[in-house]
Symmetry: C2
Subunit: 485 residues, 2 copies
């Protein structure tokens, strides 16, 4: 792939300077047209050491309206970053809709360097590249324009570039170390570029020997992409979602035996035993630097909140955080729907308990039509890939659907209306949701069927008897922890 970038292309000063004003004003114009659009842009700047990546980043910052641009350099990880799944740092830097993020370094950097240094096997490297493809696709379909630039230098040119840097005291020992691995770097980079070059997130390999040529070329490609995407008027709003109605013939939820219950005595004994056990396991997880993510979903009034309290009550409050998921803020709305959950990912040795979660995408957003069918339709796969990142390295994801019967729900709704400190829990919306019971049931079925990898299975909780449900949840968590620690 790199041979085409060794043709000796240059741009002379006169030509560069005559063409530049038009490029700049058109870039600003194109950027201006981004405002209010649902898209954001990520410009990835990567390539050989000494190829002028740093200067290119500077130049783009000069050419674009700085109010809509942010630059993120990914190099030395902080421990907060190291203690979370590797992609957390990229989510953290994700530009909001209408904005441009210039990424100096990216999700390519670590896999390529690790592969060159022989720290990961070929198979792992390929798996990383597959992850990148899926990740970029996910962003792209959400409206993120991804432009990837690879600044290429031939071996000879790289040596020359490093020598020039050396004169300015700016070459680092790592640069030379990498240079000695030139051939290997080239091979691995070529593989990475080829494997992740897609229509949705294309690579542009740029001949980097001549500063004016490389900068003007990158600017032109950026301009072309912006124009293609933002010159036209936004497409019309999609047709309203078609509702799939109809009662599912065999719902997985019907298999939950809601008659299961516990006596007060059984409950108290199990509760005490399991909470004590959980309290200790939480500290063991801390010591072993394992993180735990719990997800609670379920019908309105199923008892999620009180079950969560029985879990948290067992543990030192310094070890966990409960995140109640309500309407998104505008910053959250300006990002991919998973962004707001990435924000709350626990560091290693900690837990986050989500009271409702990313599954809202395939539950409420699906049923209420807040997401289009193609949006929630692709979410299953996106969620699986997301959770795969969470469970890597022995971290634990436990997901609970707290199930109750429709009759039991009605009984609890009525009870809530009469008990003073429970009234705040019942709203008009709850009654409206109740009417869509069958739609939700269908959505739950599909969610459980499609998002149950062995490392992050769903537990369907029999919730008609609150005592039974709480014990079932505690027991599941304790067992998962014991099996993993």
């Amino acid at each position: 792939m790199f041979e085409t970038a060794e043709l000796g292309r240059r741009l002379n000063k006169a030509e560069f300077e005559s063409k530049l004003p038009a490029l700049r004003s058109q870039l600003l114009d194109a950027q201006f047209k981004m405002r209010g659009r649902k898209s954001s842009v990520i410009v990835i700047v990567s390539g050989a050491d000494g190829a002028g990546k740093s200067e290119l980043v500077q130049r783009l910052n000069e050419w674009l309206d700085p109010r809509g641009v942010e630059t993120h350099a990914f190099w030395d990880e902080s421990d907060e970053e190291r203690e979370r799944p590797p992609y957390w740092r990229f989510w953290r830097a994700m530009p909001a809709r209408g904005r441009i993020g210039i990424f100096f370094g990216s999700w390519f950097t670590a896999p390529i360097i690790q592969r060159v240094r022989g720290k990961i096997k070929r198979r792992q490297f390929e798996a990383e590249l597959e992850r990148i493809v899926a990740f970029e696709k996910m962003l792209a379909v959400d409206g993120v324009l991804i432009l990837k630039f690879w600044l290429h230098l031939s071996r000879k040119e790289q040596r020359r570039a490093l020598e020039r840097l050396e004169e300015k005291n700016r070459a680092t020992p790592t640069d030379w170390k990498h240079f000695r691995l030139y051939k290997k770097f080239r091979l691995v980079s070529d593989q990475a570029v080829c494997a992740t070059n897609s229509r949705m997130a294309p690579w542009h390999v740029i001949e980097a020997t001549d500063r004016r040529y490389r900068e003007f070329t990158v600017g032109s490609i950026l301009l072309k992409t912006l124009k293609e995407n933002f010159q036209a008027k936004p497409t019309a709003k999609p047709a309203p979602p078609q509702k799939r109605r109809g009662k599912p013939a065999d719902s997985i939820l019907d298999g939950v035996d809601l008659k299961q219950k516990l006596t007060d005595k059984e409950y108290r004994q199990s509760l005490e035993r399991l909470q004590a056990r959980l309290g200790k396991l939480a500290w063991v997880a801390r010591e072993k630097k394992r993180s735990l993510v719990m997800v609670f979903e379920g019908w309105d009034a199923a008892g999620k909140g009180s079950a969560i309290r029985r879990v948290t009550w067992a543990m030192d409050p310094r070890l966990y955080r409960v995140v109640g998921v309500a309407a998104p803020t505008d910053e959250e709305r300006a990002h991919h729907y998973l962004w707001r959950f990435w924000r709350h990912m626990p560091r290693s040795g900690r837990m986050t308990i989500f009271d409702r979660s990313w599954y809202g995408r395939v539950l409420v957003e699906r049923v209420e039509g807040f997401a289009r069918p193609q949006e929630w339709g692709r979410a299953y796969q996106e969620i699986n890939e997301f959770e795969e990142q969470l469970t890597e390295g022995g971290n634990i994801v436990a997901k609970f659907w707290v199930h109750i019967g429709a009759d039991e729900q009605l009984r609890r709704f009525k009870e809530r209306q009469t008990i003073a400190h429970k009234q705040y829990k019942i709203t008009e919306e709850d009654w409206r949701n109740r009417e869509k019971w069958d739609d939700y049931k269908l959505a739950v079925d599909e969610m459980v069927a499609r998002c149950s990898p062995p490392t992050a299975p769903w537990t369907l909780v029999a919730g008609n008897d609150k005592k039974f449900a709480r014990i079932q949840i505690l027991k599941t968590i304790v067992e998962r922890l014991e099996a993993s620690l």
Copy 2:
């Protein structure tokens, strides 16, 4: 202060259970009334080891509507926290308006422990307490209700509590180590509580021996406070701000010699020399783990953006971030005005360059009446205290006001209207701001007069000649760095 909390107060089970339902429903009701208010609530839970802080945190979470509550435990700092001013982690956890934050540990924890262990001198300790008083006052006047609870145990009771924890395997070696320092702890805590007990952020010392008594008492105090503050209707909107008109007789800006200029040659030579120097200094700062915060303010069209680029162009883009300050997001609006700037504070060894800054509070917000006179009036002191935190430990704050004459501004406005790639830079607002030149001048004068501590002085930049301005700025930064590193 603690003697009153050793009276043996208890609450028997029957009484507790009879009173609890009313307390809970009223708490929820009071919490409900918070919604849409401009206030947030911080509940600080502190006190002796073994006094039941953790249980109390759990209990409050049980009693309140979890959708409006978040709990933050401040214990083991991450390196991202350690590498920033100590209060960064508290800003990070600040609840948004309408929400309650329960703080398990707080800004009191570190100073008290450090003082008990003899790590800081009495004078430093007192300075820390003064900082706390100012900080809490700043939050309180911004509408944050701060409730501080100190759970107290006598020495005898603490021993008993730790023994009980020991039985459950939950006492830590630190707990016993602290217990052996009981007397010292009591003395230091007493001093902290007395010195920081204010009407705006009062302490409540709670006798903690009896679980029911301490939890019910805390719940009742919380309820009372919420009721007092949210039962009444919000007060009417304040009268529109009175504008202080009038041309300042002797403006500090008039002292800036706008005739200063550089020839092209002088400019090129100085630029090259200073940029090379700055490029190296940035790496030295990185090695010495010093952070640098730069603030650029100035008239519209004064050349802030292009001056910033001359600064950044000199440095490795991995070492700095430019933050352009535009309209706040809704998450930012839901917090104290300084919150959005705390978000961007650099880690040690990095820089953040603010293109417009917190000084907006005393410039545009003052002149346009977005902030009330008492709000911008107190901001000077708040900003000084904020910057004091930034400059501690040898970190550097450099502030630039880029000054131009009114005629020069007019010339540049007209030029912007005719040059294609500059048109985006000129808006109706710029023309409107121009009409308020004298108001802004007054505001700049007061800002410079009141916010120029020796560690974070303003540099008034002569901006009529862009070349002169850029060199003046670069020179100042280089000199500040050389003096500090």
